[in-house]
């Protein structure tokens, strides 16, 4: 994980090796899937217990990287707010012919509102295209971590991980 430990974000190849990151075919086949960007073996497993469908395993140890079973995941997003590392996203790659949805754990106030627009930022913080907020969810069970959903062009949906409003 050289890029992660020297620059602070996962490189594309590092990312695609992770057991929590779904293959592109699985993303195309499902409406929406968790995208777990957890790349270091730290002692942590709230994502596993948060998933109501048992789609996430952290095994054999609590330090093992979380693995996603794409058949079981239905993209409910419960794990996004449960992850203390805010490292889980939700990607709906087939939202429309040209657009995709990306849900992001978000803890800055004021929360954005549906319809707000801004730049989609990639993992390095670089602006890579336009983003529109289409959903903002912050029920009590999320414990003050909001989940915001942005609409972006399909070809940047695997890169867009923040919105600069």
């Amino acid at each position: 994980m050289k890029n992660l430990i020297t620059a602070g974000f996962l490189g594309r190849e590092e990312l695609m090796r992770l057991p929590g990151v779904p293959a592109i075919e699985a993303l195309k086949a499902k409406k929406s899937l968790a995208f777990i960007e957890c790349g270091e073996e730290i002692p942590c497993d709230p994502c596993r217990s948060a998933c109501p469908r048992g789609a996430i395993t952290v095994s054999p140890d609590v330090t093992s990287l979380p693995a996603l079973n794409t058949d079981l995941c239905n993209g409910c997003g419960t794990c996004l707010a449960a992850c203390p590392g805010m490292a889980i996203f939700l990607v709906d790659i087939g939202y429309s012919e040209t657009e995709a949805l990306v849900s992001i754990p978000y803890e800055y106030l004021p929360l954005p509102e549906v319809g707000d627009t801004g730049n989609a930022l990639d993992r390095s913080g670089k602006a890579i295209g336009k983003a529109v907020i289409v959903k903002v969810k912050c029920p009590e069970s999320y414990d003050r971590t909001a989940i915001i959903t942005i609409k972006v062009l399909k070809d940047i949906s695997l890169e867009a991980r923040h919105i600069d409003i």
Partner: protein
Amino acid sequence: MAEDLVIIGSGPAGLAAAVEAARAGVKVTVVDENASPGGQLFKQIHKFFGSEEHQAGIRGIDIGYRLLEECHLAKVKVMLNTAAWGIFHSSGNATTVAIKNKNDSLCSLDTKVVLLATGARENPLAFPGWTLPGVMGAGAAQTLINLHRIRPGNRVLMIGSGNVGLIVSYQLKQAGADIAAVIDIKPEIGGWGVHAAKLTRTGIPILCSHKIIEVRGLDKVEEAHVARVDREAKSIPGSEKLFKVDTVCIAVGLSPMAELAWSGGCRFAYLPELGGHVPVHNRSMETTRNNIYIAGDISGIEEASTAMEEGKIAGISIARSLGLLKNECAEELIRNKEKNLSALRGGPMGKTRKLAKEKLIRLFNIC
């Protein structure tokens, strides 16, 4: 009349120990020099890592409220604004804790057992301009934003990319500050990747192999000069960068606050992996002086989650030593907490700490 147990420090280790001991029937008094209990927990507004048994996913501040409630229910006495400044062995088996109480008068508490849960302090870093107003410890900035709700500045340079530097940068951003950059003299980020990734995706650069050269300003911080370093940590000519900032935070590690253990005559070991000089202790968290126990960062710099597990082990061991818990029962409880600790020190990121803690216990046995 002597107390059963005096705990110095009401952070996660001290409070967790107080609850375990008091539940077993130990009369517990906690003293803390601060105006409110909880240590650093109430500054930890982020969700904690770990497993369910470590209260993972819950914010530190809420773990703090839970602990205070448990202390209240277990009838733990907490003396605030009370500074402990010495440990003395009095006649018989008792230990005397010298304190300065809230009225600034000096007095003492005689107790059968003392637990030192004094925590750690931030390491300083000296560079030209470090005394200018606006240069502060990252922990100080975190206290300002999360406890006092005061933002120390609008544009911040963070020195140090350990978890403290990364988390406090994130929280300063949450408080509305811009983070110009996080720099680290080492070639690799010190803290966890997930904490780093939360910053980088918002556009905050993390610059490894960079060091602070100088902070300038007329009567407060106005700009920070940073340069890239070579393998010997020498700055590379021509690589200088200038950041217009009003705040420079220092997050270059913590050192155990172990003065009271020195004053109590405990044996020490020097283990840089644990933050420097730490009292050696056994599995029960007892030091080389009978009836002086330690838990939390004083016994090696780790995290609040490990501090609480160590505190619980200390609380259970103390209850056993006072005859309030049967040995088999205490052993079972301790083994369970040891399992939790071992999980928290698991994996490649925890290996150095795990080995150092094991060494500390081995050193106790040969002291």
